[in-house]
Symmetry: D2
Subunit: 304 residues, 4 copies
């Protein structure tokens, strides 16, 4: 029941909203590790069949979710322990990472909207090597193996007049990386997930993700190379929050109740169209989390 | 009824939440002008008695609200027509503006949180004269009358370790302006008000206003000079939105219903503590509105 | 004489450094207009032959230089009169501007180095239409003719690992504009030119221009579409300034003098390698000049 | 000889420009340590008499100069080894640091001019405690001793209309810290010093320091509390560079030569008035160096 299809970018939340019955259905594997000392939980959801994909409302593929409540608290630094978990999971999911790789890292989002600035901030802190290797060769680094890293911040459509996907496709064709890593701010269903959850998936990014305007898909299909997406939920859709609250009040009520609920719900969604919910210390959160993620990438690429 | 005292920074909204009975009560005057061509409505609420202040939950004084839906649409500029309305109202409310004045303009808020960056952006665009007049005298300007303008962006407590009020009081004592104008982002009760409403008041700023952390009061009483506050609602408290939605569903229900409502309401408020709702194009809005407000100030001070 | 080939991005300065003898040579046409009231001088240098190009050390093509000392002074705005001169010259030089055009505007340079941030700031203020026309058609604008404008800020190689030219070529292939306008900060030979001169040319941008790192060429040849470059000199190469000063002291001196000069000159150039000279109020200048240029473009494209 | 009094903010450079004869004069003590492994040199100049002050053109007091060429190279971080040297020297020079201290850290300079943004960037990365201790008491930190740290970025006079000193004096009177630490970008005489030298002094800041506009003094005399200044030379005055080059060419020449030199020199200074020389990668340098300095402060205050 409900007056709309609740939207979440997190496979973990999609998974939870599935009833027992469904959850036993073939095609959705769930695996969990928990590091008690650091209080970090890693959940891997694998969607292996079309039915699974339909039930979850997410494309087939692997979704790794790192839950790290510590990320909410400032430590005297940036939570290197979390960066190391991110790195470990990236090494698992990035194809061919064992050999030398050419990787384009894409920072999606709007630098000028704090809650949507995760992607741009992450690329700010990456260790970029492509231009050095192109000019001086690998000799420039005293390492046996050096990954060739480039990055782009495509900006927002309102400012460029172009879809992020158009810009990125052009860059991919010109510079022919073998793999793409895309970072974006996500929308969660519950505020309980905000700024403490990191999702890593090999399914890329699909329109409507993130805070910003709709974007074309960034997937292996559309880009011609594997696309690993790293997302952190920084906002909740404002409509979702209201609808969730309303639903809690409507249980076994009768017809009238039901109708009134649906009306109220629809009104709420209209009024809250294009509104999002974020936490008041979002600036500090983004600064810290983006650094944690970029260090995770640097470690995975053996550049930190 | 309701599980909490709904908070709004807008006198206009406080006014609306008063029932007929109250509204006839002495001590709250209401006046309205409407410019049909520009679709700009100016409402002046005057609270003249302690009873009025109590009923409104706002200190005694004058509250001018400019409603300009046009502010939501980008025009090919910054809506000069709205700046002129702002200027006209400022000239009414700034004491001694007819003579030459020494005015300190304070930009409250957090430059790094888009929805809270109104104050800092407004002071960026002000026409500052104090240092020129101090160094070269008024001769530097070929004008009969020149207002002496200075500005300060006190920043946020998390970064300075100080209350904005502490910094401002120090600046006032050192530079002895005659009047203070304070700009801040406000919290509205309804998203219908966001980014299209400007409130001008001679009562200053009171703790808990704006998006940021609590601040000490900025009032004539605490600063020793008249304090004119200009506010634009850019966010709604996330709890408010949920509670409003819940209340719509609870009318003449019985005890159980009532109890469940209050519980749900309290839970919502706990979960949404320190969360705010903003619109997705907040960056463009802040850029445009802040320029409209700063031009309004420049015009009022005869510096544009 | 001199220990190095002095570098300037301004055709006007190259022209001046040519002796009488050369200047009469075929292949370099010079034309001048002067608006006395506004004190704006427009000089058009046309290089029409290979000899001319060799003598000038600049590719064949048209170079329009607008000298507007007024740009150095803040007025209560952004010098619209200069924007209108820029627009008039752009209309002359942009091919096919009379019909509807699809134009990509490129903001070169480094947003984080004030003196190199002209390009990024100019694109910030452009009126972008491509995404609107693509989504809603031209009907979205109540105009007979609407130019389709997109923009890109490629960023600096140290951050992206890619040449600006690689990124831009990719964007051009994906979005197929008909014309490109490139904005960049230039290096002048003399501080007398800084922040008061605007150069418009149909020859594009060549490696080594601007403050930033070397860039591949952005020309019709490399991009496949006409490339109009708009440049404003914001810096002088530090070596140039010293060498110029030294040269003034060395006239008809003898051998020893000459030798010593050449040594001193070489030392200066080594010490000042990768150093530039800028004015202390460069932040205010860039803010004002970038707005003047972007308004000039908006006017030329009939979007202001 | 020379057509002007060369200006440098570095005591070390002032010291060098003193001839043997002077250097033996009483009142200027020199002490040097060199860490060969890290290639970090620490020179301490103590000016103990008025004569010494006159000869050096600097007020009496202690000037510690840390020369760390490594600071020019990006490492995979921010050069913690240099931060530790800074911390060690700060602990020596900050009065009463052994006990619990209340310290105000001031970030001078202009955030919007890259070469002048050192101060603002340093305060961005400080660990601020004052507001926490005021609200929750020292219990909030599980430490025996907690320094009470606040910070302010006064901004530039062109934007505030006030001297930095006016703002800071006001803040000091309101919040009564016991010690002030001021961070500012300095002007060196030679480009060889840029971005690799850190000066720490107990004499505060004197008008004309840094890149920005003249500022009133920030000294114990003017502020009523000890003022420790930390400076990093990020620019060289453009005039200085030219004059130095000219002087190299003028040795034992005759009258005419001398006169011509003085004229050329004066012209150079006029043309280069308000111009500065900076390195092209100043953005990366400021980002890295400011972090190194702020970590040095955090370590000294036992907050890192």
């Amino acid at each position: 029941m409900g007056c709309f299809q609740v939207r979440t970018d997190l496979a973990l939340e999609a998974r939870e909203s599935i009833t027992e019955a469904d959850s036993t259905l073939r095609g959705v594997k769930l695996e969990e590790e928990y590091d008690e000392e650091e209080d970090i939980r890693v959940t891997t959801v694998e969607i292996t069949t079309k039915n699974g994909a339909k039930a979850m409302g997410k494309p087939m593929g692997t979704y790794i979710t790192i839950e790290a409540p510590g990320m909410l608290e400032p430590d005297e630094g940036y939570h290197r322990e979390i960066s190391e978990v991110i790195a470990k999971q990236l090494v698992k999911i990035i194809p061919g990472i064992k050999e030398e790789q050419e990787i384009l890292v894409v920072g999606l989002g709007n630098r000028e909207v704090t809650a949507d600035a995760l992607g741009p901030h992450v690329v700010d802190n990456l260790y970029i090597t492509r231009h050095i290797v192109k000019e001086f060769g690998k000799a420039a680094y005293n390492k046996e193996k050096i990954n060739i890293i480039s990055s782009i911040e495509p900006g927002v459509m309102g400012k460029t007049g172009m879809e992020a996907a158009e810009i990125i496709r052009g860059v991919v064709e010109q510079t022919t990386p073998r793999v793409m890593i895309v970072i974006d701010a996500l929308a969660a269903r519950s505020t309980k997930r905000l700024n403490r959850t990191i999702q890593i998936t090999d399914t890329g990014i699909h329109p409507g993700s993130g805070v910003g305007n709709n974007r074309n898909a960034l997937t292996e299909e559309s880009m011609g190379i594997p696309v690993i997406a790293i997302g952190v939920p920084t906002v909740v859709d404002a409509g979702t929050i209201v609808v969730d609250a309303l639903e809690k009040m409507v249980h076994d009520e009768g017809e009238t109740e039901r109708h009134r609920y649906v009306d109220d719900c629809r009104n709420a969604l209209t009024e809250l169209h294009n509104m999002y919910v974020a936490s008041k210390d979002i600036d500090a959160v983004i600064k810290r989390v983006s650094y944690t993620v970029s260090e995770g990438i640097n470690i995975a690429l053996e550049l930190a």
